[in-house]
Subunit: 504 residues, 2 copies
Amino acid sequence: MRRHPEVVVEPRIDAATSIAEIATRYVFDPPRDDDPVIEFLSPEELAQAFAGVIPIELGDNVPARSAEALASAAELVVRHSVHTSHPRFFNQNFAGPDPVAVIGDWLGAALNTTNATFEAAPVFTLMESALLRKLGRVAGYPVSDEPGSLPPGLFAPGGSSATLYALQLARHRHQPDIVRVGASADRLAIFVSDAGHYAAVKSAALLGIGMDNVIKVAADDEGAMDVTALRAEITTARERGLTPLAVIATAGTTVTSAFDAIDEIADVCDAEELWLHVDGCWGGSALFSSSHRHRLAGVERSDSFVWNLHKMMGVTQQCTALLVRDPGQLGPCFATGADYIFQPDKLHAEFDSGDRHFQCARRVDALKLWLTWQAYGDEGFEARIDHAVAMADHVRHRIRSSDDEFATIVEGDFSNVVFVWVPPELRPFDLDSLAPDHHAALHVLAPRIKGRMQAEGTVMMGYQPVAEINTFRFILNNSNVEPADIDVTLEFISQYATEEWKGV
Amino acid sequence: MRRHPEVVVEPRIDAATSIAEIATRYVFDPPRDDDPVIEFLSPEELAQAFAGVIPIELGDNVPARSAEALASAAELVVRHSVHTSHPRFFNQNFAGPDPVAVIGDWLGAALNTTNATFEAAPVFTLMESALLRKLGRVAGYPVSDEPGSLPPGLFAPGGSSATLYALQLARHRHQPDIVRVGASADRLAIFVSDAGHYAAVKSAALLGIGMDNVIKVAADDEGAMDVTALRAEITTARERGLTPLAVIATAGTTVTSAFDAIDEIADVCDAEELWLHVDGCWGGSALFSSSHRHRLAGVERSDSFVWNLHKMMGVTQQCTALLVRDPGQLGPCFATGADYIFQPDKLHAEFDSGDRHFQCARRVDALKLWLTWQAYGDEGFEARIDHAVAMADHVRHRIRSSDDEFATIVEGDFSNVVFVWVPPELRPFDLDSLAPDHHAALHVLAPRIKGRMQAEGTVMMGYQPVAEINTFRFILNNSNVEPADIDVTLEFISQYATEEWKGV
């Protein structure tokens, strides 16, 4: 009966200790200034670099490695990863992880538990509820402070998942028996601007609604939804036999950081009896700033609101809050009442969040946000937003005073600036009168500049086609960025562009 | 234009440093032996404990707190959290986070990036692919080693999400245009044993299939699916006008760690042309042990297979692999081709995993698993499984030789043992001849014992109704557990039960 009584797993404290030193050094002495943003290697070169230490591929017999080899591998990981806290990392809608958030994440990982039940996560359950209530109040949602009342939402593993849950809540309100019997024959339609995030179509596919039934409403040149077009699309959809279900208003589009007119869209949703979901994954954090919260006016009228604190607020991946107007519907929409974990007869069962959620075990995402918020306070959160926009303003200022070397495609007035470098012969830039060969040449220039950035490790910045030209996107959300970092970045782009333009 | 040029966010290095020390101390000197598993406080008491340091609730004006206050709050977090690495924590299907995994998690958090693209996560993209290939080979899946070939799956934020994705893949094979046009009018049916995990019904609700169309197939007393009943249920479903879509075979049920006969179920799926999904969230890791991998015989015939490395393998939350037989379908099922991030014209775009996935930004879950695997090797992984079963065998041995003080309800032969303490007057225990009042009294005993465990902080163990009696579940997956921990745990249960029995 007692097989293998001798089997013992000795914890590898030696390896853990060495790697902890590397991780700690990285957090408190991160790459900056002229340190590379990335020491870029191709997949083949990376494989080769690791081959001499520990091959990345795991063979058919993986041996236990020495602590020295593991530490060397960890050093290689650091060396050839992208330094997202570097002030010249402008590549994603996250950057500059806050040190308190990173360490809060560490403490959560050390305590490794699930946020699904009070018994497994007593402190984190209360922190999560407290954060949801505070976020709800910041958004102007009705929030009950009565002890034991349901918090106005949940934490999700990212914006796409939160969007999925929100649309299911919308569908559940429309058809309350959907959870039991499945979707009715209604062909539902969801409306989002054509500058909105692709989470809408992904969610529609997964829900069985279908991507074709996500109606892309025209956006203006800045990226904000045309609300007149929305009204027309709803009418057209009804005429086509579709059943309009929900409108997604975007608060901070991915490319241009544009804000849809939520209040006006809320009027449409009221009149048409549609669910209003606000995608504030990027721009929701504008609510923290008295100078910028007006951009989300009307969010308090929405039915659901997704807000990624891991984007503008520098909290580590992931920290997504889904706020809902009616938390009483989370249970009916997601509960299954599994009696091995949500035992109704246990102590404090009413605090368990798990049966109001799609997920079962959930990593603790609340602690890092709670500690970060307490470290900086409301004023520090406001400063983070104001700093980001001030830096974006500096970008706009520099481009305007660049003697036409750079031109904005979408200047924006929040965190993002979409722009191109302009070849001398095309200054001042006039997109509309661009000859086809110049258009094509400019389109292929951005990937070449990006290749130089990566190869030399000087800058990381994303590009995307806007008006059918690959354009760079300055996205500001890293509180480590100073005006000089922006200036140097533009100088690098100028240099690479000038050199690469000769070859396109 | 240059508003707020003076806004600067000073990073709170002071607070981060203090909390990092607390987290590091916790990992390398964790609670053990007679340290409490939990210093339990009720929600009200917790609120009070924090009130003197930093209140858990965030008021309308959150001030920036001192480093001292933040460190004190972090100490309180640790003090009143559940110590899941303690050898007397048997409460969940995760326990004993491995120190290398915790520190690997830390390094990933420090490098805070998304695993969606090669450019943002060059090393992690390769590690993730390498891990999926290795896991695929361990499972006996066909895995291509050709450079640049698609890895056989993806990482998901937990077993429920992975199940959701797997069922969508099944539906997509059944109806390839579902992504575009939405679900057809077919009323789909999914089959899972009645001992299977509730992720099946949650996913069916979210997909719009409906919980009622998840057919619960009878399981035997140990918790394994009755395959004859499965065949009958499929026939009945067809007769009722349902379209059978998929069968979920469970490899390691949540309560009794039973394994469905995958090979036999695969025969049924072949004959009926159904998708076979294996839920190996719990028991998939048995594949690492030559003594136990036979329990999953036939998994290599499945279409999809979900495997939580954060359960038996001690990797931190979450680390879930979804393996798929045909990775070529991940793109068609989930892609949207967002051109601001998956630019087709950039370097190494073909390595991006993001457009084969539902999620966009994804936390790096691969690094911690890669480091842990390299630290222990295949043999260390095997030892972890063998140790868990050896400890469960010790539980079974102790219960058998307890002079009828304890009785197994489901003895099992893997990691879990479901049992009750038996009052002296009911020994030897005979469930079938139990008088109704004794039945009722035994049912309320477990929550009382659990309350004592929590109040005294001696043990954490879950209970659930089996045969309408609340029964405790010994679940073994913590490599820190030694036979003496099991012996002491049974002594505590004996003591609490004896004392509480007088009062029920």
